[in-house]
Symmetry: C2
Subunit: 285 residues, 2 copies
């Protein structure tokens, strides 16, 4: 019976810190503000926007909604993005993606200034993660994994951590964040051999393969801490599942994040904390 | 008795490829050119400049020497750098560092455009390595390690590779290059525990700790391939040594790079190949 590393209380603790920081910033005349840039009315975008807005409201961060029609011209879209980049009252920009193809997702991603890239999607942010400098922000999901480990007092220095997955959104950045925190990091992926054996020897296993319930009891040991980043809808079970086969792994390991209610419950809190941090950096710069 | 992975023949093969590419570029009216920017007359700088110049001469790459006095003003230095950035006839810039302090090493590093950063020192180049895109160039030493493995036909896909060291110049970029080549990569460092045990299980061990002769026979096994990136002068032995205790490790392992004559013998060839690649990219862009 593993201890559940629930995201909710991690999120609460992050929100509490953000709230305090916002209060201090407001005393200095600064209201941290997040611009949410949405094109069209995709239901996933609306859902994420609602979640982020709720977190902002809870912490005193202002939300500026910028909604453009699905057929917005490239010129109008990029003019708007440039305006947000230059607006001193906007501290973070969340661009809901994917954008419609005519807007060029890659160009749009690169067009956000790293200082406001609270979602950690630009090359500038990835560089900050790679070089361990305060440039841009780490991708929220990758950082959420670290926040959970920190919140539950799990020491990282010298620990053998295996990261399953090497995507630019989670696997690679979380590996760098762990390395920057003095963990010994092994990155496994689809081309790795003897993956179960490698995973089984880890102190901490971070699973971000995107393959639903693919990590079973052969991958784990009884002293292990499992961070499950995956989230997929299992049509047979009719519920959300992670990349870990929970019912098989949970009875074996020491600690594990549930899905839902684990990493995913922390990401919007991380996003909002980045807006607050971006606002703080404007004072120090 | 290990097979020696000598750098010299790797360098020759790279130079041969560069020579052919230069010939093709010249047919199109393009002569690849490297600007070597030096401030003052430090002996290390002069030595590296001689090595790079020799390689350029061998392959038909033009060298433009830009030498500024030690007391050059910041304005003059950055104006010169900007001129090189903008000069369409210059394809690569090698800035010999460290610069005198008044010029701000960090700012100077950031001021080279990634397209001409053939030494792989800018954030843009590191981002390219991290995201596995053709942006800038990998740091030459990190890439030299890969070139040696490739030249000797050592398969990387699915291999367990341990990288000892996590510097931005070698450890981190070589880890990313290996990961991009489908190796399973473990990064160890000064805070890792049981390092010898971890290293001993690797198929390939890349040593870049900068600690002379610190890797002994306890770290290796008889099927192992060792890439020794270190180079230090051993005052007691009165010769150059690597990070590996060669006389103890070489009799045990399968293959090993000598020091000197291993990785170090390949780096300037990589540098020159980057100049050629930079010139090729100007055609395609």
């Amino acid at each position: 019976m593993a201890e559940l590393l629930k995201g909710k209380e991690v999120a609460s603790a992050i929100n509490e810190r953000s709230r305090n920081d916002v209060a201090l910033l407001k005393e200095k005349g600064i209201t941290p503000a997040l611009a949410i840039l949405r094109v069209g009315e995709r239901s996933e975008d609306l859902s994420y926007e609602r979640g982020a807005t709720k977190r902002c409201n809870e912490t005193g961060v202002e939300v500026v909604n910028v909604v453009l029609p699905l057929d917005v011209s490239k010129e109008t879209f990029y003019a708007k993005l440039e305006e947000l980049n230059n607006d001193p009252n906007i501290h973070g920009i969340l661009m809901l993606r994917p954008l419609p193809q005519h807007l060029d997702n890659e160009l749009a991603r690169m067009s956000i200034v790293p200082e406001k890239d609270v979602d950690g999607c630009t090359d500038g942010s990835l560089t900050g993660v790679f070089t361990n400098t305060a440039k841009g922000f780490a991708p929220c999901t990758a950082q959420a994994a670290i926040e959970i480990l920190d919140h539950y007092g799990i020491e990282l220095t010298g620990k053998n951590v295996v990261v399953l997955g090497r995507s630019l959104v989670v696997g690679k950045p979380v590996s760098m964040l762990l390395l920057n925190r003095n963990a010994t990091v092994t990155v496994c992926h689809s081309k790795s051999k003897n993956i179960a054996d490698i995973c089984k020897k880890a102190d901490i296993l971070v699973v971000c393969t995107g393959k639903m319930e693919s990590v079973n009891k052969d991958y784990v040991n009884e002293n292990q801490i499992i961070i499950d980043v995956g989230i997929s809808f299992n049509e047979i079970k009719n519920k959300l599942c992670g990349d870990v086969l929970f019912e098989e792994v949970e009875p074996v390991v020491k600690m594990i994040t549930p899905v839902p209610g684990g990493v995913g419950a922390v990401t919007t809190s991380v996003l909002v904390s980045h807006v607050v941090e971006a606002a703080k950096r404007t004072i120090n710069s």
